[in-house]
Symmetry: C2
């Protein structure tokens, strides 16, 4: 890779900054960036061609010397790679002036140096003079063909820029050698009893993906300094963080060939991963959920690229998917706070073409394993996985997780009591914390209103909610109606902003009975349960929502709501005193 | 301003990059950034205190010398401002080791250097030793009070960091002196006949806002090199682009005291504007619509700050609103293309607290003037204005614009024919191009089905669509039902992604009959009309939507839809041949 800064002085309406600082400052800047800059500067085409050729020769010599020291002498210290500053006029060899205004070497030559050909005869003459200055009679024969000596200069076959396999990464893509994700399963003898940290379990799986593909050197994990914090530290059993700057003896897990790329810049992580995928390799970007918005705009361009190349450009071969693991999410803010709370990246993603986007909210470790495996095997997609890193209840055995996640959505029979009859209410949930609160609410309802028929539906693959006509994963209306009924109240506890669920389901028969709870921009640094209380997503609120919406429970409302009110006051008093959640909240497990 | 890079070597789990490059590279980097770096380096507290004090003295002398040259000698060349690199151990003076692992001067001292106090007695002892190392007996008296000699060192009154008025900008805020926006009105004798460029009209208004407040120096306009391209060039009649780097004689509108800040970095524009507002001044950020996503994450933090300080911290005085003008929007891609198409920033904004966000889609120049005036006068909000820069039809006289925009939503009587009766269909629109297509569709319907009763509703203030309970600007359900009926089909032509309208209206009575057209990620570099055709937002498609949804028009469907199909084929053929829209499309005006 040889970076060339083409410093032509201007952008759309202004000089560029780097063109207007001193030579010394400019040189210092690139030295500060770790490069050895070479300058090619001038405006006479002939001289500049020679200067550029000489500089390229010199630079290639430098590169070969570095490669020799590294490859033949085993030198591992970071080299000072060469780069070139090419300073030439903007609009070079275009018209010097148009209508008496400086155009070559000015912002005026940006994009359209002059126009109005139909009305200004001068402009036509100017265009003709300009075009003729390239001496077409020396370049083309009488039939308009490029003369053979020039045509021969063009590279052939894979040396052509557009045919270089590195510019069509799918050609170079090798499948990842995948371990069996079932080998990493958490034992879940009964639902809602065992605790595990979902991303830590995934970490062990990723470690072995890394190990198996070390030989092919085609898998990297990216993150803003959070691989360990996000509980993916098992990776460091088989690889290191890539580090080419100075080291000291106390350093841990830093190496020039490390396959975990950490930098506290989501932009850089995203850019690295995109480049890596586009050149035919595989990767995963793990990020704090709130801060992935930093790369919203970069994601946009990648999703647009996938849309166009995936469906409209047949010679482009599929590349590995862009995989995000969003963790350290909105609902656990024990150490961070309001600034770290934003589950809206999935709203942003859902605006892009359905064919290229997937959003998964696995509720526990085994379902996360299944989803991670699916994402790493997929092609030409953007996969967003949202999963917590904190210890949490486990609901699904591996066998149950495979069935549930393959469907992407389904009734949790063990949590429901409507089998063989009609439910009075559907309690739906998506995301680990909303699932926990939903189940705890179901427990409260079972105790307070044993004859209430509750159906629990869990959603892993969010796109299942959309109509089939809108997304390839969408349920048919018939399937949706069977799950959610056509006329019963649905209380939906959701990980993100509630309106995303409304948006995905507004065409469904029972949308009028859908009531969604989710994050509504209320939060601070507080206990896990207080976060859900602040946003009306807690078990008590969900119970109140059920009582409000199931007609036959009307008689319960007054007393039940007063109990709930008191519970919330207890909670507030307790956390103010102990800085921790009440034991019966914190230690709640599914008691059946 | 004195930048200090506190280079303590580590972040959460890694060394920092700048701590592990050579002194020369680090120095070069800051020289390249235009600074004169001073280094304070070491780990002995006493020596370091002295070194820091000496360096601060030296640096202050430098700053005073620069100020003297500028203020007394009139020197205007860019000075090399000093900055300090303070290199000290992370976790300095904390425990050297914890459990045998290096902690001071290591990433392990990040945030929580050690914990588990309840279970590890060693840790309690370590904590005690550490705390006692600060000699509390010398700092506090027997009652625990700070000793008077130390207490006196703290600054008083406004010199206290938290009481400095520059950290509570509202204290310093002066109202902008506003010209009368009505003076810039476009003459609109009849709706839909006259053409104007909305943002160019706004440019003249901004010019005079700038002029009137020049004395107070409290208004700046920010943009990524697009002020002229976005047609706000009138500003350069009264001010310049701020430019402190080198200049050449041919430069235009560059000056050290320019009040338009242009840099091709949306991040920098956003950061500058936030800082400017927080210190009590006013500003506007104009940006290409698609690229404002670059600052999604920065917007989040500002919106969260406004939510907390606006409603929860009474001593914080209101500051001027953060104003965005999004132009060069999705529907005009004559020169750009798919990469420049994303109207989703308003979806992102709508996720934040209703109290602090406002979204305006003025359909023409006079309505834009009204909205711009409203935004510049407002406090503690984020205002997003979406408005095209291309020549477009004008619908509202200034008088009509004031009435329509004050309400934020309303029936356009002159375009409707249902007065005195019930409408058969409500044609709603928000945004300049959707308004144009809606009116052209109404024209086609009037010609084809003269007895069809059509009501045209235009939305300027998007938040009017939300329920009153969700947004302070929301219409009551009664008001909404009166405008949109409770049972007639609504065809809504929207500027952005269609689901935003569904999300805002899902609780409304007539939501089930709402059908929204908008951007659905289809586009390329093409003609204006082709952009709407590609996204099914064109006049023909809107007519087809009406025919499909108004029961009494069923008989028309077969022939009408065939005509529409033929029209679209004509359009495709024409643009392929001429690269421009058909004259009857391009030159369409409201014919009544």
């Amino acid at each position: 890779m040889l970076p060339i800064l083409h410093l032509n002085g201007y952008k759309i309406a202004n000089p560029t900054l780097l063109a207007r600082i001193s030579h010394d400052e400019l040189k210092s800047l690139f030295v500060g960036y770790g490069y050895k800059p070479f300058f090619v500067e001038g405006d006479d085409p002939e001289t500049m061609h020679q200067a550029m050729a000489d500089t390229l020769d010199e630079v290639m010599k430098e590169i070969h010397a570095i490669q020799h020291r590294a490859r033949d002498k085993g030198e591992t210290i970071r080299p000072c790679w060469p780069m070139i500053v090419l300073r030439s006029p903007k609009g070079w060899t275009g018209p010097k002036d148009v209508d008496g205004k400086k155009t070559e070497d000015s912002w005026r030559s940006h994009q359209v140096p002059f126009s109005e050909m139909a009305t200004k005869k001068d402009h036509i003459r100017l265009l003709e003079k300009w075009m003729k200055s390239y001496k077409p009679e020396e370049l083309f024969d009488e039939t308009g063909q490029l003369i053979p000596e020039l045509a021969e200069l063009a590279p052939k076959g894979e040396r052509r820029m557009g045919a270089n396999p590195h510019a069509n990464g799918g050609l170079l893509l090798k499948d990842l050698k995948m371990p069996d994700f079932q080998d990493y399963a958490v034992e879940v003898p009964k639902p809602g009893k065992v605790m595990a940290e979902a991303t830590r379990v995934m970490g062990a799986f990723l470690r072995d993906v890394m190990k198996r593909n070390m030989g092919n050197r085609n898998f990297l994990v990216f993150g803003p300094d959070e691989t360990a914090s996000n509980r993916l530290g098992a990776l460091f059993e088989v690889t290191n963080r890539r580090w080419v700057a100075d080291t000291i003896p106390e350093d841990e897990h830093l190496a020039v060939d490390g396959r975990v790329l950490e930098i506290l810049s989501e932009h850089t992580c995203q850019g690295w991963l995109e480049g890596y995928l586009l050149t035919g390799r595989h990767g995963l970007f793990s990020c704090y959920e709130a801060f992935i918005h930093i790369i919203d705009s970069m994601f946009n361009q990648h999703a647009k690229w996938l849309k166009v190349t995936g469906s409209e450009i047949p010679w482009r071969r599929p590349i590995a998917s862009l995989n995000y693991l969003l963790t350290s999410h909105v609902w656990r803010q024990d150490h961070n706070g309001f600034s770290h709370q934003d589950p809206g990246f999935i709203d942003h993603v859902a605006n892009k073409k359905a064919e290229v986007i997937r959003i998964y909210l696995p509720p526990d470790a085994n379902s996360l394993l299944f989803v991670a495996d699916t994402c790493l095997r997929s092609r030409n997609l953007v996969n967003v996985i949202v999963a917590g890193k904190q210890p949490g209840l486990q609901y699904l055995s591996m066998d149950a997780a495979i069935k549930h996640c393959t469907a992407g959505i389904g009734i949790w029979e063990w949590a429901s009591n409507d089998k063989g009859g009609e439910p009075d209410v559907v309690m739906a949930c998506a995301g680990d914390i909303p699932t926990l609160e939903t189940l705890a609410a179901v427990d409260l309802l079972r105790k307070q209103v044993p004859d209430l028929k509750v159906r629990v539906v869990n959603v892993v693959n969010l796109m299942k909610l959309q109509p089939q006509s809108e997304h390839p994963h969408g349920l048919s209306d018939r399937e949706f109606d069977v799950l959610f009924t056509t006329d019963k109240p649905i209380i939906f506890a959701f990980h993100g902003y509630p309106w995303l669920i409304h948006r995905l389901t507004y065409r469904r028969t029972n949308h009028k009975n859908l009531h969604v709870r989710g994050y509504k921009e209320e939060g601070t640094t507080t206990t896990p349960f207080d976060m859900v209380v602040l946003n009306d997503l807690d078990r008590f609120h969900l119970v109140a929502d059920v009582i409000d919406r199931v007609p036959k429970l009307g008689y319960l409302a007054a007393y039940a709501k007063q109990t709930i009110r008191d519970k919330k006051i207890d909670h507030k008093t307790y956390i103010a005193q102990y800085g921790d959640d009440m034991p019966d909240i914190k230690n709640w497990k599914w008691p059946y």
